[in-house]
């Protein structure tokens, strides 16, 4: 274990640059701890975002040595064997300042993919009985642990290339809802994800699946949507 880390951090907005800091290496140290150290002890003007510090809020994702990662749960030992770190803001999202990005587009696309439950019952009704082992119920688990960290969104080439592309997280959420027997909005959702920028824009590059910190599989979810929308189209249930 080196005694010191050489840490290059992105400073400024889109037109910023990397600046290098020396941070003491500690045994228990996450990438977020490294960033915090710089802000607390070297340069108090450093901006970044975090909240839960244990991998549930998805606020702290950054580009670490070229790959998007959740920083609060990424141990330094895992990514900086040689004592070097380069930490930048997430890609594919506008930079607010330093390491913080604006996630607005990510959530707008979540809505565009109709990633919102459409109720078929009310609060006065009993809770629907659903067997936990039915195939649809299992498929509905696809996105249920998504922490909307944007790692997949930042990792995806298609997002980079196609401004309209809804992105892996939003589509995975849509897939969960398509399989949710309680949901009343499936037709409109299939329509939404079959449009330009929808699931068919995905090239199955699988970076999303490779890097998702929650080990979700957006590639499979999107493939599911591709099949489901295709079937719906062939049956005339949705317009092209």
């Amino acid at each position: 274990m080196p005694a010191e880390l050489s840490v290059a951090l992105w400073r400024g907005a889109e037109d910023g640059r990397y600046e290098t800091y020396r941070v003491p290496r500690r045994e228990s140290q996450t990438v977020l701890d490294v960033v915090s150290f710089v802000q607390r002890h070297i340069d108090p003007t450093l901006s970044y975002r975090f909240a839960c510090r244990v991998g549930v809020c998805g606020s702290c994702a950054m580009t670490v040595n070229g790959k998007p990662r959740w920083t609060c749960r990424t141990h330094v030992a895992k990514v900086a064997g040689d004592g070097r770190l380069e930490i930048g803001p997430l890609e594919n999202l506008p930079v607010i300042k330093d390491l913080a990005t604006d996630m607005q587009a990510f959530f707008e696309k979540w809505q565009r993919a109709k990633g919102v439950f459409e109720p078929s019952r009310t609060r006065l009704d009993a809770i629907e009985e659903i067997r936990p082992d039915s195939p649809a119920r299992r498929a509905a688990d696809a996105a249920i642990e998504c922490i909307n960290c944007g790692v997949c969104y930042a990792a995806c080439d298609t997002v980079r290339w196609n401004r309209d592309y809804l992105g892996p997280a939003a589509l995975t959420r849509a897939w969960t809802l398509v399989n949710d027997e309680r949901d009343a909005g499936v037709a409109a959702r299939l329509q939404a994800v079959a449009a330009a920028g929808g699931c068919h824009a995905c090239h199955s590059h699988q970076s999303c699946q490779e890097l998702c910190p929650q080990a979700l599989n957006p590639t499979a979810a999107i493939a599911g949507l591709k099949r489901r929308t295709l079937a719906a189209y062939l049956k005339g249930e949705i317009e092209p």
Partner: protein, 576 residues
């Protein structure tokens, strides 16, 4: 100073379970109202509702009853809860869980036959905790967040509320905010405001809540003159991860199930010590285990980093890795082997039972101000049951959302702010820019240690008095420590300063209330008064800002539903 002014009908401070439910209910009650939600971080991605692991208590399953849930809550709270509030909590939780599942879209775990699964949680006589795996909070808050995004609700993300601004007659006029991204101030005038910033005792060396929580809401309420109740009641979770002082991971919670399923606690000498404290061993309640670990620490029988070990490996590493996947992964990510090795743990400040005094409909003493969630008080008394936290924030958040439109209909109109207060608050928030920059971190460390050692798991008169003195010093130092005014955009260091100020102020109230309560109930343990005292004459503390500091008084608990020594459960059974 010229600042931007905006107007809205309903302003909600906080985007946790309480804030988001309030927004949805308010808009539903009156779609013509302009509803605005303020969050210190990103909507739904900050706060503690998201961090809920265990689940949500609700008496829905056959064999359970609201009376049983109520009695568990009252007994868990050591007879201090406000019984009307607790009753509302347990009865309305049913509708709220159905709303979460049927309208919001949460998909809670089921039994093999398809019915809702309730899991066992410590301190309860029925397995009533509804959950989604051990990441229940993500499911709840993500679904709420989607629903809010889907509606015409204004979002002020990364905006920090710094002060409640009264009108000349004392009713609430609006709220002063800092736009974190631009560093600029905004004053939002509102007809009704909900305070739902979610407490969060992060002034302790070891703590579980989200980093954005710093008791701002209670600090604002105190300054505004509102009474705060049960402020001595800080709940400690016995098993926080201990990974040394250099990582933010330290203090984060390792779930209760580890002990429940047979994990052992070992001290630094590798001895299993719980037998010295309680016959239930590791399965004793949170407060008992926390105090036992604390005692070992005080006796110096600690591990390398000053805590104790939790050992799971005797259950079979494979089984542990499967049953507690989330926890094992989390430990592995920070370099520890929970399934096969030893992990250091320490009690960690988890939940704050104290808060603003409120009515069942969430109204406070002041016109136009409502409160819900962890900022409100009275539902839990001396102890919160695991699973009653989200129940509280969602039940009362929804009630606030129902109440505010009605209140506005009866009391329409915006009120002009008191400009003296507004100016004073602007100056207050910019105070650090007038001082020479200094070492905020050392100060934070001091505060964390002071509260941990002197006003923590176990207290007595002399420790609390020592703590109060230290707090005076910390506050004076803080006021003399500045932040460079170079770039206010996304200036975390400025916000660290503001966080410290809120924390210091509320720490003092905690200490004063701890001094006032001369007995030991639930989360509050005085080694100089270890007995709970007479239950029938129980009192709760009320703190209020006076001209010469904070005054603490004691008020008798009203036993409106059940008296100590009685239970509602038998009646319920007889009625069936």
């Amino acid at each position: 100073m010229d600042i931007e002014r905006l107007k809205t009908d309903i302003l909600i401070l906080g985007a946790g379970g309480a804030g988001l439910f309030a927004a949805l209910h308010a808009l539903k009650a009156d779609p013509d109202l302009d509803v605005t939600v303020v969050a210190k971080g990103l909507l739904g991605k900050c706060g503690c509702t998201r961090m809920v692991q265990g689940g949500y208590n609700v008496a829905l399953n056959p064999g359970d009853s609201v009376e049983r849930h109520f009695m568990d809550t009252i007994e868990g709270g050591k007879w201090l809860p406000h019984q009307e509030l607790a009753w509302t909590l347990v009865t309305r939780a049913i509708e709220r869980v159905q709303e979460l599942e049927n309208e919001i879209g949460c998909f809670f775990d089921r039994n093999p036959d398809g019915t809702l699964h309730g899991k066992a949680f410590a301190g309860q006589t029925f397995d009533r905790t509804v959950h989604k795996g051990d990441l229940t909070g993500i499911e709840i808050i993500n679904r709420l967040m989607e629903q809010v995004w889907a509606r015409p609700i204004r979002r002020l993300e990364e905006h920090r509320a710094v002060a409640l601004i009264p009108a000349n007659d004392g009713a609430l006029s609006g709220v002063l905010l800092i736009d974190v991204r631009s560093g600029e101030f905004r004053f939002i005038a509102a007809q009704a405001v909900l305070l739902a910033t979610g407490g969060g005792p992060t002034m302790y060396r070891y703590h579980t809540p989200s980093g954005d929580k710093s008791m701002d809401g209670l600090a604002m309420a105190l300054r505004y003159g509102l009474p705060l109740r049960d402020m001595e009641m800080v709940q400690f979770h016995p098993t926080g991860l201990l990974a040394g002082p250099d990582t933010r991971m330290t203090g984060t919670v390792l779930e209760e199930g580890l002990r429940g399923s047979g994990g052992h606690l070992l001290n630094g000498a590798m001895q299993r010590f719980m037998g010295d404290y309680d016959p239930k061993l590791e399965r004793a309640t949170r407060d008992v285990v926390s105090r036992a670990i604390y005692a070992e620490m005080r006796a110096g029988r600690t591990t390398r980093n000053g805590g104790v070990y939790i050992k799971m490996s005797h259950l079979g590493p494979a089984r542990v890795a499967k049953e507690f996947k989330g926890m094992v992964d989390r430990c592995r990510d920070c370099g520890f082997d929970l399934a096969g090795g030893l992990v250091e743990v320490v009690p960690t400040a988890h939940y704050f039972m104290g808060g603003v005094v409120c009515r069942v409909d969430t109204a406070t003493e002041r016109h136009g101000l409502f409160v819900a969630g962890e900022d409100a008080s009275g539902m839990h008394g001396a102890n919160r049951l695991g699973g009653n936290g989200v129940a509280n924030s969602t039940v009362f958040g929804g009630i606030a959302g129902d109440t505010m439109p009605r209140w506005i209909a009866a009391n329409p109109g915006h009120r002009e702010p008191d400009h003296h207060v507004l100016d004073a608050e602007l100056a207050r928030a910019q105070h650090p820019f007038g001082q020479a920059p200094g070492d905020l971190n050392a100060l934070r460390e001091k505060l964390l240690d002071c509260m941990w050692h002197d006003v923590g798991v176990v207290r007595d008169r002399s420790s609390v008095e020592r703590g109060l003195k230290a707090l005076d010093g910390i506050e004076a130092e803080l006021l003399a420590t500045g932040v460079a005014d170079s770039d206010r955009r996304f200036d975390l260091t400025w916000h660290d300063w503001l966080n410290l100020r809120s924390l210091t102020e509320i720490s003092r109230v905690i200490a004063l209330a701890a001094l006032k309560r001369e007995n030991s109930r639930g989360a509050h343990f005085r080694s100089d008064f270890p007995e709970p005292g007479e239950l029938a004459t129980s009192t709760f503390t009320v703190a209020r800002q006076g001209a010469n500091g904070v005054n603490i008084s004691a008020s008798p608990v009203q036993f409106t539903h059940v008296k100590p020594g009685e239970t509602l459960i038998r009646d319920a059974l007889a009625a069936e």
